[in-house]
């Protein structure tokens, strides 16, 4: 009798945990949507921050995330290819893999400090390049891990079949193996893009922020996330409102990209 009771209790508690978890999700999304939607006006999208909108912020955040992606994806994929296709099994590869995983969980604020020392301090001003680099540094380990894991899922026979046809190793990797892992890798890129576009800490003292619309990456660069942080702490309600609008839009973008990535991987199964 005791056993069954204990069993029931644990199962109820576990289910309760799940309910609480889902509850928080809904609570957060509900309040975010309510506050966000009521704060969005047409001008939110057409004005820049200086005029109470977030147009330049959206563009700025996207631009930096895009640059980060353009840098991180080739580098990360090549590193992942090395780990899985060339260095497979070697101690060096294991060490690199572990280091890369550590970088994945490293505090993002520290990355911000690092990039500040390298790309802001010597030049005397915050700049968008520094922000992009900071985001790239955060993205690279994720891409490495995704590529490594997705390539591992490709059956060995496929590689052997390619080689048996007389292909050279690098051609087989590019034309057969990567193609076979294409969906998984693309999903990984999408999910990591969604992750870095929502980052704030690495941008605080690299790109900082800019009220005006600009595409000049050599100076302070508009950032959606940094703006939210600033706006939320201003006392006036207009800033607060804008912070909610920006938060809602940011969350919507991030969740959409996330769902897109999951949809992609479910479709290809």
């Amino acid at each position: 009798m005791n056993r069954l009771l204990l069993n029931k209790i644990i199962l109820i508690l576990s289910t309760l945990s799940a309910v609480i978890g889902i509850g928080f999700l809904f609570w957060i999304l509900a309040t975010l949507s309510y506050k966000g939607i009521t704060s969005i006006h047409w001008s939110t999208f057409t004005n820049d921050l200086v005029e109470g909108g977030i147009r330049n912020l959206l563009v700025g955040q996207f631009v930096m995330a895009l640059i980060a992606t353009v840098v991180a994806v080739p580098v990360g994929m090549m590193a992942g290819i090395y780990l899985r296709e060339y260095g497979h099994g070697s101690t060096l590869a294991s060490i690199i893999r572990n280091l890369s995983d550590v970088m994945m969980s490293a505090p993002s604020i520290v990355i911000g400090v690092f990039v500040y020392a390298l790309l802001v301090d010597p030049f005397g001003s915050y700049n968008g390049w520094a922000g992009s680099v900071a985001l790239a540094i955060m993205m690279i380990p994720i891409i490495i891990s995704t590529t490594d894991n997705m390539l591992a899922l490709v059956p060995t026979e496929l590689r052997e079949a390619g080689m048996a046809l007389g292909g050279s190793k690098h051609k087989i990797i590019l034309q057969v193996v990567i193609r076979a892992a294409k969906v998984g890798i693309t999903t990984g890129v999408l999910l990591s893009f969604a992750r870095i576009i929502g980052e704030t800490a690495p941008l605080l003292f690299t790109s900082a922020n800019n009220q005006f619309f600009t595409m000049d990456l050599t100076g302070q660069f508009p950032s959606l996330t940094v703006s939210i942080y600033n706006l939320a702490t201003y006392p006036d309600s207009a800033s607060r409102e804008l912070a909610w609008a920006a938060s809602f839009i940011l969350t919507a973008i991030v969740l959409c990209i996330n769902l897109m990535g999951r949809f992609l991987i479910r479709n290809k199964k």
Partner: protein, 263 residues
């Protein structure tokens, strides 16, 4: 067997896997006659797949293995080459264009049917569209799936059934017009009907290509092959014409295996 009739020949060939204490194959002497089907049979672990995979040096994808002896390939112009001496990547590429391999699991590439068959051709440098189309068609006909695929050449190969995929892999290998085709248990993952179709295909192919087939299905070996090699624990226990092996084997070991006393 007369040397003029050979396409490959193994002489005192031994093979040891990386970090293995003992060789997996010991002093194998095996002639492969041209335009014939040579089957390799034997219980699990006897080394038949290891032997097959040595013949296109696919083992070399994994470092640390060691060989002894010779594996000679007789080219179309009559020259003889010991493929165990090859070291450069370019030489391996050329070898594998002459000695192709079909695997146990069908391995269609994630591309269209056409691109799959054309893959090896493109690797060897053929770019001309008309030539590619011609050779792909020939290959697909040679693998007996032209009728089934001619209207969907641009569709993904992944949409085909297992048996069709395996025949696609055969077409892909045949497109390169190799001298030898190595089959590693090609039908063990397929249903009986697909198996029958592939066996028919292999019988027809031998007029163009010499076949070496590893199989654990003895009926298949006796149906298809001209010569049979019986392997046991890394040794070549017996090698002879197929009728002799199956009807009147010399070694007791062979007889026990054939009659199912072990295996």
């Amino acid at each position: 067997m007369k040397q003029e009739n050979l396409v490959m020949e193994l002489k005192n060939f031994s093979f040891t896997y990386a970090n293995a204490p003992k060789p997996s194959l010991k002093s194998i002497n095996l002639p492969i006659e041209a335009n014939k089907i040579t089957a390799m049979i034997g219980p699990s672990g006897c080394g038949k797949s290891t032997l097959l995979r040595s013949m296109n040096r696919i083992h070399d994808l994994y470092p640390g293995n060691s060989y002894e002896g010779e594996i000679n390939l007789y080219h179309a112009d009559g020259t003889k080459q010991n493929i165990l001496e090859l070291k450069k990547e370019n030489d391996f590429i050329k070898l594998r264009q002459e000695v192709g391999m079909i695997f146990q699991k069908p391995t269609p590439f994630p591309m269209s049917i056409f691109d799959n068959v054309a893959y090896g051709l493109r690797l060897s440098g053929i770019k001309n569209k008309t030539e590619l189309q011609g050779r792909v068609e020939t290959a697909l006909k040679g693998a007996a799936i032209w009728e089934e695929t001619k209207d969907r050449l641009n569709e993904s190969a992944l949409g085909m059934s297992g048996g069709q995929q395996q025949r696609l892999c055969i077409a892909r290998a045949v497109a390169l017009k190799p001298r030898v085709l190595l089959f590693d248990e090609p039908t063990s993952a397929l249903d009986p009907i697909s198996t029958g179709a592939i066996e028919e295909l292999i019988s027809e192919i031998k007029s163009e290509v010499s076949v070496v087939i590893v199989t654990h299905n003895m009926q298949q070996a006796s149906r298809l092959s001209d010569y049979t090699a019986f392997m046991y624990l890394g040794d070549l226990a017996e090698f002879d014409k197929t009728e002799k092996i199956f009807l009147n084997p010399t070694q007791k070991l062979t007889e026990d295996y054939i009659t199912g006393r072990f295996g």
